[in-house]
Amino acid sequence: MHNWGQYIPGNSIIHKLDPRIKIVSVICLSVFVLGADRDAGLLLSGFMIVVIVLSRVTFRRVIESLRPFMIFFILLFSLHFLFTDGTPIMESAFGGLSITYEGFYMGMYITWQFMFLVTGASILTMTTAPSDLISGIEGILRPLRIFGIPTHDIAVMLSLALRFVPTFLEEVDRIKKAQMARGGTFKKGRIIKKIKNIASLMLPLVLSSFRRAEETATAMEGRGYKRGPRTYLRALRMSSADYAALVLMIVFMAGVQLLHF
């Protein structure tokens, strides 16, 4: 079982692209998708399929990453399908609601948009190691430093947060087991009981994370951490392939844009 959009180590062109380009591309594509008409939509879908093929992420994995959102897709589709006025396919199909060609089209369209956004984001995270993702974000935010925004510190905070997620999950499990060992139950009971149970988990968790935070801060200081500039194991440097990809993206998006007129 894989988590949504979990990084899949690989060596494809997409894997090797500069994370900054990937992030910016995903953002631009998403904006385009929201305003796309039918032709642009086809182009964008084609583009996305090419990217997926190049990334060597199997289509099965892409579909798996869509699965958690299935309920939203169905909901979005049916809302438009059932509540859009237009040329009816069938009158009073579902208890007085008529389904229309326009509704079908709108439903498909909205669902496609949403699927595209999710696919774009998951291809990004599947082909980019979390640490590269963070240095990419830091790289994109870097110009904001002139406004006094501490981008280096933000990057450290993000990576610390990601680093400690599994640790916190383990901690929750440990606290839960410790309470179960003393007769606590977590499965049974009514809502009120369940809320109380969660409270009894949260308190020790919060306390222990404060202790942890303090120790971590001391350890970071001991390893010479100070706010402000620092360097990284992998420096982001644009290769010629990255520039080529950038130009390609710009040309593609300009093409899609021109198609509108």
Binding site: P9, A129, P130, S131, I134, S159, L160, L162, R163, P166, T167, E170, R212, E215, T216, T218, A219, M220, E221, G222, R223, G224, Y225, K226, P229, R230, T231, Y232, L233, R234, A235
Partner: protein, 278 residues
């Protein structure tokens, strides 16, 4: 050289001092063991050595730089590395190699140099093939090794180990201890806090602390030779020393300056083969 001169430390002015007029020096390449009951101030003392805490009275200097001097704190922390008790909270990188790169990154070294140091440090602790693993998938022993590699990547002159073998199984403990010894052989001074005396029998100096004071200092033979004093402090002595001492208590005329099981074997076997003429 690290010099601790007349250091007193209290958390607030009214508190009892946690450290009380401590004096000690640590030379380059030395191996110092620090022992004492829980709460005696061992950890507080070593936190003074790399400017994580500042003395309330007295002064601490590292290679001539005073830890009070704001401008030398960075260099002091580079020279004096610290491996904390709980490796879980000390690993900050999302992968093993990124954690090791954290310190050199703080020194603002170029990426090539960081890469070199990361590879060397991971090789030194035998984790070369685990560079891209995620911290939470490591065993307790491996986490400890990662935290050691993270300190080595700073290329320090002194490394403080605060109970480096706690929570480890015997094989993990042996691995960590042999790495510490290897680091010392490269000329890096070791300051090793422990409760297990067998770990520091080859230290150059042992410091015994109680209630914020240094009670006595000496070579392992000198310190563990004071068996009764150690026992009155509720401190352990090496198993072999204890054995020799108990045999002596029972009237056997045996050397008691024995520190390791090997030495004990030699001494006892010698006696079994040629019993001393009484």
């Amino acid at each position: 050289m690290i010099k601790v001169e007349d250091v007193t430390f209290r958390y607030t002015r009214s508190d009892e001092p946690v450290l009380n007029r401590i004096n000690m020096t640590i030379d380059r390449g030395e191996y110092v063991g620090i022992v004492g009951p829980n709460g005696c101030g061992k950890t507080t003392l070593v936190h003074h050595l790399n400017a994580l805490l500042y003395p309330t009275g007295g002064r601490v200097s590292v290679d001539g730089m005073n830890t009070d001097d704001e401008s030398s704190v960075e260099e002091i922390r580079r020279r004096v590395g610290m491996v904390f008790q709980n490796p879980d909270n000390q690993i900050v990188g999302m992968t093993v190699e990124e954690d090791v790169a954290f310190g050199p990154g703080n020194l603002e070294l170029p990426s090539r140099e960081i890469r070199r140091r990361v590879d060397e440090s991971l090789a030194a602790v035998g984790l070369k093939n685990h560079a891209t693993r995620l911290p939470h998938t490591l065993s307790g022993g491996e986490k400890r090794l990662v935290s050691i590699a993270g300190v080595l990547a700073m290329e320090p002159q002194y490394i403080i180990f605060d109970e480096p073998t706690s929570y480890l199984d015997p094989s993990g403990r042996d691995r960590v201890l042999s790495i510490i010894r290897g680091i010392n052989e490269q000329g890096i001074a070791i300051i090793h806090i422990t409760h297990n005396m067998d770990e520091i029998v080859d230290a150059s100096t042992i410091v015994v602390m109680d209630e914020g004071r240094i009670l006595f200092t000496g070579s392992p033979k000198e310190v563990f030779g004071r068996v009764e004093r150690m026992k009155s402090l509720k401190l352990d002595i090496p198993v072999a020393t204890d054995l020799a001492w108990r045999l002596k208590q029972r009237g056997e005329d045996i050397r008691t300056d024995i520190l390791t099981i090997d030495e004990a074997c030699v001494e006892i076997l010698g006696r079994l083969k040629n019993p001393p003429v009484s």
